[in-house]
Amino acid sequence: MFLQSPSGMSRRHFMGHLAASAATLPALDFIANVQANAAELKKRNKSCILMWMSGGPPSIDIWDLKPGSKNGGEFQPIDTAGALQISEHMPKTALMMNELSVVRAMSTREADHGRGRYYMHTAYAPNPTVVHPAFGSVVSYELGTARKELEIPAFVSIGGGGSSPGFLGMSNAPFLVDASGNIRNAKNEGLSPDRLSQRLSMLGVVEDNFINSQRGDFGQAHKEVYQKAVNLMTSKQMEAFKIDQEKPETIAAYTAAPAQGGMMGGGGTFGRGLVMARRLVERGVPFVEVDFGGWDLHAGVFNALKTNHLPQLDAGIAALTADLKERGLLQDTVLVWMGEFARTPRINQDVGRDHWANSWSVMIGGGGLKGGVAVGETDKDGLTVSSPKAYQPGDIWATVSHALGIPLNRVHQSKRGRPMPLANSGKPIQELIG
């Protein structure tokens, strides 16, 4: 795996950063620089928050209920602030549905966890000859590099297992953190800024020697990642990960837990992850993925949803949407909700639902997109997409690209030079970009 520049990436601006820092480098200078640039962050930066429901969520019980059908299950739909009905167990979200929409006409073919995960994240089917980047890496590449004031990684994944940046290279890999916000090895306790500065300065001397030794590009790529790591260590933006700085009421609203800290099910990690996501977006991180696991409900689906998953989901989505709106960030932040696939309309003998990719729903909103609409529909038993057009993840990511201002005709290159169109040539969904 040899690091190659994706075409179009300007190494020059990075080298400028690095050359300056290698030469002068006291860490104190770093910190001063960061504080001076804090003011710049106020300008309009677009972001996307992906809520990833790992395991395959039963969208037929959440966003597209079929009460008249034998597949309808135990839940009833309720009215919302938008033009559609959703599950009765999502009452808080129902009040925010004027801001959010549901694409009910997803039909995506991949019903295997690994393949589905890959397909939904990258918009490409898994292929043995190339590794495609997850869309977060695409956004990191397209938007992150341009945000010079951003000192923390441009693609943060909270609670997830990671995904590959593929041909876009390691500097666009997701930065993994857990919902506690602890980042391993982020600090060196007992090391004064002077010592850090001395170390980095010496590092620059040694590194430049190798870079100038006619051995190719590797030395430079290494330096860049180190630069990012040092930025991380010394950046005030690291505060984004410290969600305990939030008021307890805020965290309580996001996690459906009492303010004093009673836990349920997943321990409120999803809600806490969303709080962190909001804090990251406030500081200009263009893509945050928040993981919510445990959706592979082959058995006891209604009980699980009712007592555990939906209260957390409901609280989280509603609180995040309201919070972003209140801070004036919602029109610049796209929210996406999806999993690797959804679950069968047919209820199995264990009162569960199995894997199903043929007809399901993805939720998407914010970012200036139309809220409160249902795009497409499924038949009365939820078995097929009955509206004329069915959608792929590429269409969802194309819609996100539209909202983020990434040109739709972008074409990246794999390591072997194969052209890779943005979002696998998906098209933005008309009903949402209205």
């Binding site: 043995p128 000859t129 590794v131 001395q198 590092l203 051995r215 330096k223 991380l232």
Partner: protein, 575 residues
């Protein structure tokens, strides 16, 4: 056997230079001739020296005069040199001893050399010292450990899959490399294994490919790639897009694996009162007749167990995997030999004769086809001995070269897409295991004897897990590498391992150096030798002096310097 696709690239040098490898499927279907067809251009392989004597350094003259005394090594040198001439390249100079000893250690035993070993080697005036060192490293226990690690990772990944025993797998490979087992026997065992995953560690390879109940699809794809060097997985669903292979090729391979079953045993754990995982095993499953598969147009097809034209009895009694193993490991130049040669060459040089190394086929012509084939034949003749193969490669003239580009071979830069001509050894990132083992050497932790072997292994596994859990996907590229992400940079900068290394605790290497005899300059030299396996340049010494002058804590300067050296790009790359 793979007669159909052997290309003669020598005549099409223009194509090589322009690098349009895919478009050269020129139909010169030569037989897989041995070197008998190729008459060497030079009459004596001993006059390897380049014609421009004036530019020869001491190092180069040394290399030219070392008689390999071995026909295979001579053939390697000749073929490589011929391709340089055909492409108008001249090789980079011979690497100095510092550069070379570090690289050969990393490549053969998986860690950097100790400072003393470097100093001794550099001081030696023995003209055949490089060759002698190669032999010594092959007999070092580090050889067994390194190749066990490499092949365990290739077979079951760095992240151990469910119901697979990593201990079982490593035990199998430790034995294979420790006892010098023939490679074809190793492959035979891996493909045909049955039984308990700790008693017959070889089964872990198969178990790792059985994570999904997929009728042996993953097993088929992995076996063909890893051992045969062929990527047939595209043909699972359709005819291969770039070559003659048809969809039934994949399913013919697959039909050999259909008698593979596994049992995941559980046992009762009295402590928790629950059933927990016990052992897993590979067992026989009844299967006979053809495999059915669907073409894209929906038509059903059949595939029988046929291996490159050799049919076996598809009846219920045939042990298909055993038959497959026999077929795979016989012949004069079987695919497993070509695949191993390609992989081994890539291990040492950074690139193989094809790219990717496990995609050998008519659509992917090798850079040096005659060389690759001769090496495969000789590898078979040597009794499939990996050590012999390594000796040939590591003793070649090309491997003695530096990794620096020179004015005369600027085009030899595969990292930007050029075709590799091996006029220099290419830079390779260290693997996570190499990094860990090298940091241990830099700390002297391996000498402090503070933990027994098993505990050290556990510590190593724990340390490695911090990277593996992050990026546990299989890219299938040439080397499983340490990928240069921010968490890794943070670990190197602030983590305990480097932290210990740069402290001057008693017993630590740095502590020993600083409290030992010698001038400041000598101490600095020792620090450089320990970390980068070389001496500091004058410029570096001057730069460090500046830090001493500007600081009131000389010990801190030493510590910070060591820190910088261990964190540097020069440390983390194998060059």
């Amino acid at each position: 056997m793979l007669a159909g696709w052997s290309q003669k690239l020598r005549g099409s040098t223009a194509a090589v230079i322009t690098g349009m490898a895919l478009s050269i499927v020129v139909g010169v279907m030569a037989s897989t001739a041995s070197a008998a067809e190729e008459t060497p251009k030079t009459d004596s392989s001993k006059t390897d020296a380049p014609k421009a004597d004036a530019t020869k350094s001491a190092g180069e003259r040394l290399s030219g005069e070392v008689q390999s005394g071995d026909a295979v090594i001579d053939f390697i040198n000749q073929e490589i040199r011929q391709a340089w001439q055909d492409n108008g390249l001249e090789p980079s100079p011979v690497a100095d001893d510092y550069e070379w000893i570090r690289r050969v250690h990393l490549d053969i035993v998986g860690h950097i050399p100790e400072a003393d070993v470097v100093e001794e080697f550099v001081a030696s005036k023995d003209k055949s010292k490089r060759s002698i060192l190669i032999d010594q490293l092959l007999d070092d226990p580090g050889y067994v450990r390194n190749w066990t690690t490499v092949w365990t990772n290739l077979c079951i990944g760095q992240n151990t899959p469910r119901r697979v025993s990593r201990d079982g797998m490593t035990k199998f490979f430790r034995e294979a490399f420790g006892r010098g087992r023939a490679w074809n026997e190793v492959v035979f065992d891996l493909v045909s294994a049955e039984g308990h995953f700790e008693q017959n560690g070889a089964v872990n390879y198969l178990l790792a490919q059985m994570q999904d109940a997929d009728d042996g699809v993953q097993m088929t794809a992995k076996t063909t790639r890893l051992f045969l060097g062929m990527q047939v997985q595209c043909t699972q669903c359709h005819d291969h897009p770039f070559n003659e292979w048809k969809q039934d090729q994949f399913w013919k391979f697959n039909s050999f694996f259909r008698q593979t079953g596994k049992i995941d045993h559980r046992k009762y754990d009295p402590k928790s009162g629950r059933d927990v995982d016990d052992y897993s095993e590979i067992v026989w499953r009844d299967f006979d007749g053809p495999v059915f598969f669907e073409k894209r147009n929906g038509l059903m097809q059949v595939a029988y167990p046929i291996y490159f034209g050799s049919e076996i009895d598809p009846g219920p009694v045939t042990e298909r995997r055993k038959e497959l193993a026999k077929l795979m490991t016989s012949g004069e130049q079987p695919a497993i030999a070509l695949a191993m040669v390609n992989r081994m060459w890539c291990h040492f040089f950074g690139y193989g004769f094809t790219r990717p190394i496990d995609d050998i086929g008519p659509h992917n012509p090798p850079t040096h086809p005659a060389l690759m084939e001769r090496l495969a034949t000789e590898f078979v003749n040597s009794g499939y001995d990996p050590k012999t193969l390594i000796k040939w490669i590591a003793n070649s003239d090309a491997y003695t070269r530096t990794s620096r580009l020179s004015k005369k071979n600027q085009a030899d830069n595969p990292a930007v897409g050029e075709i590799p001509m091996f006029s220099r050894v290419y830079v390779k990132p260290m693997t996570a295991e190499q990094l860990y083992d090298s940091l241990i050497i830099a700390t002297n932790a391996h000498k402090s004897g503070r933990s027994g072997w098993e505990q050290s292994e556990r510590q190593r596994q724990v340390w490695l897990q911090q990277f593996v859990s992050t990026f546990g996907n299989d890219e299938g590229e040439e080397s499983s590498s340490f990928d240069g992400s921010i968490p890794q940079a943070l670990m190197m900068m602030n983590g305990e391992l480097v932290g210990d290394a740069v402290s001057f605790k008693s017993g630590s290497h740095l502590g020993d150096i600083l409290s030992g005899k010698g001038s400041d300059t000598q101490k600095l030299q020792k620090i450089y030798l320990t970390s980068l396996s070389r001496l500091p340049t004058k410029g570096e010494l001057n730069a460090v002096q500046k830090y001493f002058r500007g600081s009131r804590e000389p010990l801190a300067v030493y510590s910070d310097l060591f820190w910088a050296l261990l964190n540097s790009n020069e440390f983390i790359f194998n060059h």
